[in-house]
């Protein structure tokens, strides 16, 4: 609960200082971006990513490993807060589901859709990317499982080992489809049903195989946030009954990450592809492909088949492109690392891109709907309450409007995309050193993947600057 209530306050500060979103996809915002020299940014971004690859060639092989190993101790947390935070999170979820069922019908006044789509999916992802796996704290199953005695069970389960990340893939695909394709993901009542069903399905699975085992490869948000939090600048290590926290460089923890199995590779690539497709499906280009007039978008319900196909095609295309790059990199380097191991390790380099695109794509949504969320949580049941003093806050949509905001937002977005891809190249370089003893072979193995990353930089910047209509 504390986490849930503190987060919006942080968001509001960001919103008030800086400067659209799904709910505010006003044509004019992208109109101002169209006037900016975005083509120069795209070329510049591509060059920056390519040059960073070349610069790494000149770097001593162990220099990155040395940097990544650096830690600045912060403090020791003498206890594990999870039982308390998870219980509070579960109670908050109960309240939120209740608001969805009986609260306001307006998706911008009801706290459930705002919490799920803005605070949780956008805000918590960014927070995990910076501060570490906060989802572990607010996991709404842990406290319940602990209560009924299934939290600590880590039974070996052959079925789970066989399925590996498949359950997480299936659940994430369903989530992405619901977010991007289903006509009314913001409808409070329907969302309450879906959230409840998701909670119960995963509780049932945890009762069968244990909370820890299911969280590792079954429950898709546990998996997603664990992957994203590998980028964070805070390294939390178990220390007795508590944790020892220290600062590290962004992405440093990725260098020690174990290789993911192929299903894990597919999961991570699907996560990135889904957010990229969320950008793509609004573009004039995509709407033209599916025969929809972008100035007269008829509504999601009309394009469900096309966008369902597009979503899965996007995931398949990215996965295919990544695997081809890894495979050809292996060929170029003499093929000593093994394709599966190389793919499982190098896929971690996609994580910074996923986080960067998540930030850039959802930035405007966060800034505006974050404010709506602040208002909504003060009066969750639309009864005229003002629990946190924010019920009458004026939602300032102007923070994302006009040429000045367009310039600031575009630069933040472009900066994030380029930095994310540069970090991806650096991480891939360091991971390649784990795969190849010979630095020259490691470098050669990275050429195709670097081409992919340059291409994805261009794609990401194009998605954020091309005209949109839906």
């Amino acid at each position: 609960m504390r986490m849930l209530t503190r987060l919006p306050v942080l968001l509001s500060i960001v919103a008030l200082v800086a400067a659209p979103n799904r709910a505010l996809a006003h044509a004019s915002d992208r109109g101002f971006v169209l006037l900016l020299p975005t083509g120069h940014y795209i070329i510049g971004g591509a060059v920056a990513v390519a040059v960073s690859f070349l610069a790494l060639v000149a770097l001593k092989p162990d220099a990155l490993a040395g940097l990544a190993a650096r830690r600045l101790p912060l403090f020791r947390l003498g206890f594990d807060p999870r039982p308390v935070t998870s219980a509070l999170s579960f109670l908050a979820l109960l309240v939120l589901v209740a608001t969805g069922l009986i609260g306001s019908r307006d998706p911008l006044s009801n706290p459930l859709p705002l919490t799920i789509w803005t605070l949780f999916w956008v805000g918590l992802t960014l927070a995990c990317g910076v501060f570490g796996n906060l989802f572990r704290l607010v996991d709404p199953w842990y406290a319940v499982m602990r209560l009924i005695g299934g939290a600590g069970r880590q039974a070996a389960d052959a079925r789970m080992d066989r399925m590996s990340y498949l359950p997480a893939i299936v659940q994430f695909a369903a989530f992405a489809w619901f977010e991007l394709v289903y006509p009314a993901p913001d409808d409070p009542y329907r969302l309450a049903i879906v959230v409840s069903a998701y909670w119960f399905i995963n509780l049932a699975a945890m009762l069968i195989v244990g909370h820890g085992r299911w969280s590792r490869t079954g429950e898709c948000f546990s998996v997603f946030f664990r992957i994203i939090s590998q980028l964070s600048v805070i390294d939390a290590r178990r220390d007795g009954g508590g944790f020892r926290l220290s600062l590290c460089l962004p992405g440093a923890r990725l260098l020690k990450a174990p290789p993911l199995p192929m299903t894990g590779v597919a999961f991570l690539l699907m996560a990135l592809a889904s957010v990229s497709f969320d950008g793509l499906m609004r573009t004039f280009w995509w709407l033209g492909r599916i025969g929809v007039n972008p100035l007269e978008f008829p509504g999601r319900s009309v394009v469900m088949a096309e966008n369902t196909a597009g979503l899965f095609l996007a995931a398949a295309t990215l996965t295919g492109a990544f695997l081809i790059c890894v495979w050809s990199g292996e060929k170029l380097s003499g093929g000593t690392a093994g394709f599966r191991r190389a793919a499982g390790l190098l896929v971690w380099s996609i994580a910074p891109i996923a986080l960067a695109y998540h930030f850039a794509h959802y930035l405007t949504a966060l800034l505006v709907n974050g404010q709506y969320a602040l208002v909504a949580i003060s009066d969750p049941f639309a009864r005229g309450w003002n629990l946190f003093g924010t019920a009458d806050l004026h939602v300032s949509a102007g923070v994302v409007m006009g040429p000045d905001s367009a310039w600031v937002l575009w630069n933040l977005q472009a900066g994030a995309i380029v930095l994310g891809h540069v970090l991806a190249v650096v991480v891939a370089h360091a991971l390649a050193a784990r795969l190849h003893d010979d630095p020259r072979a490691a470098m050669r193995s990275q050429i195709p993947l670097t081409v992919l990353m340059v291409g994805y930089t261009v794609l990401g910047l194009w998605l954020l600057s091309t005209p949109t209509g839906a």
């Binding site: 044509a27 004019s28 609260g103 911008l108 509504g299 319900s301 009309v302 003093g389 924010t390 949109t468």
Partner: protein, 434 residues
């Protein structure tokens, strides 16, 4: 931070306005408020439920935000003055995602689950067209604020009304006399190549012809176009006026490239503010519009001769002299259209009071009472100006404003007469059974 707290404390005063939109719970908030004494004297103090079919998400959301604010302000004003027939009104908002399939679902849900008295507030034409049949089947009066010609075309049904905003056919027609007399006789039209543009393509030429002017060229631009320079050579050299109605994200690019093409010269420009609704007129790229003219329903900028009613309306909705939110100077309103929400709610009030409306059993009486309306006087209930209402085609007709961009503002230079926008009715809803 001090700015923030000031904003919050200032806004705390508006609590009842916010509650008006919060759904079912708003009733208890209203009943507990100081206005309750007045309602208690009415036969029934149960609220009149007005279902608001709102574009809260989807492509209509930026318009929807201002429709919501205007609706909240009007609902508060009506309740502060004693409600409808002594009963408070309650706005029940349902989001339709600006989606043609969800639109009818929302109308049905409002009518059958929320048991609203009327459904109101729809803007986007494709949602209106899809929702109207359900309103007709369920026999629930459906008051739209869309400006489309679909209601007046009499192709919908007897339960659909547009009493708060003039339809686009009338808007276009009423600008013709001013264009012919002031801007020039030879007009080239540039419009997007789909339904929105076709209204202008089809309605302007006959209207201009009646004024002794003519459309000499029509240039239809594909909706996906993002660069326009290649179309400008098609503009005939003897063009006096370019009549432009481009919309979408590329509008700014369109204006910028037109400026680059013509330099400091070129024909006169006349546009519909729909192109730049909610966009700051002083944005970079729009410099070329200086000195050009626009149609506006209600003026975005405060005018020197604004009536007290217009001033009060602007204050109630919360827009400043530049037509932006009083709380947020960058949040430019959809001023040219949103007054229609305010005026429509007052028409519903007027019709319900004329019908002695008590509940859903009186819906047919309400339809007939609405059809019997003929004139709306300018004043607090109709701040945009006086209007006539044609009960046979369920459409109101009002004056339109022609504004000039000068000094970074839109100044009204001409207000059309209601007669300028009248046309022969295309049918008669009143012959349909109730």
């Amino acid at each position: 931070m001090s700015d923030t707290s000031r904003t919050i404390s200032f806004l705390r005063k508006s609590v009842s306005r916010r509650s008006a939109l919060k759904g079912l719970a708003a009733t208890s908030a209203v009943m507990a408020g100081p206005g309750f004494v007045r309602y208690a004297q009415a036969q029934s103090s149960a609220p009149v439920k007005i279902g608001f079919q709102a574009h809260r998400t989807g492509i209509g959301a930026s318009y929807g935000r201002w429709y919501e604010r205007t609706t909240a302000a009007a609902a508060k004003a009506i309740n502060d003055a004693g409600g409808i027939n002594g009963r408070p009104i309650e706005i029940i908002t349902e989001d339709d995602g600006t989606d043609a399939k969800r639109g009818p679902e929302v109308v049905e849900k409002l009518a059958t689950q929320h048991k609203v008295d009327v459904v109101y507030g729809t803007l986007f034409s494709h949602v209106v067209a899809a929702s109207a049949p359900v309103a007709g089947e369920l026999k629930v009066p459906y008051y739209v604020v869309s400006e489309g010609h679909h209601v007046a075309s009499t192709k919908l049904n007897r339960y659909v009304f547009q009493p708060g905003i003039t339809d686009v056919k009338s808007q276009i027609q009423s600008t013709a006399p001013w264009i012919a007399a002031n801007a020039g006789k030879k007009v080239t039209q540039i419009f997007p190549d789909y339904a929105f543009g076709y209204d202008h393509r089809d309605y302007l030429p006959p209207a201009l012809k009646a004024q002794g002017a003519e459309v000499i060229k029509q240039i239809a631009i594909p909706p996906t176009e993002t660069s326009f320079t290649k179309y400008f050579p098609q503009i005939p050299a003897d063009t006096d006026v370019i009549y432009h109605v481009m919309i979408g994200p590329a509008v700014l690019t369109f204006v910028k490239e037109m400026g680059e093409f013509f330099g400091s010269g070129g024909p006169q420009l006349f546009g519909f503010i729909d192109s730049l609704e909610a966009v700051d007129i002083n944005s970079p790229g729009l410099e070329f519009l200086d000195g050009s003219h626009f149609w506006e329903g209600a003026p975005r900028y405060a005018q020197p001769n604004d009536s007290d009613a217009m001033k009060a309306y602007r204050a109630a909705v919360g827009i400043d002299d530049n037509g932006a939110s009083v709380n947020d100077a960058k949040d430019v309103s959809t001023a040219a259209h949103m007054f229609g929400c305010w005026e429509t709610l007052y028409v519903i009030k007027q019709a319900m009071e004329a019908a002695g409306y008590q509940g859903p059993q009186d819906r047919a009486k309400l339809v007939e009472a609405t059809e019997a309306l003929t004139d709306f006087a300018a004043g607090p209930e109709h701040p945009q100006g006086a209007k006539t209402f044609n009960g046979k085609i369920h459409q109101c007709f009002g004056s339109q404003n022609i504004s000039k961009v000068e000094g970074g503002r839109l100044n009204v230079v001409h207000t059309t007469s209601i007669e300028d926008g009248l046309y022969e009715p295309e049918g008669d809803y009143t012959t349909q059974p109730l």
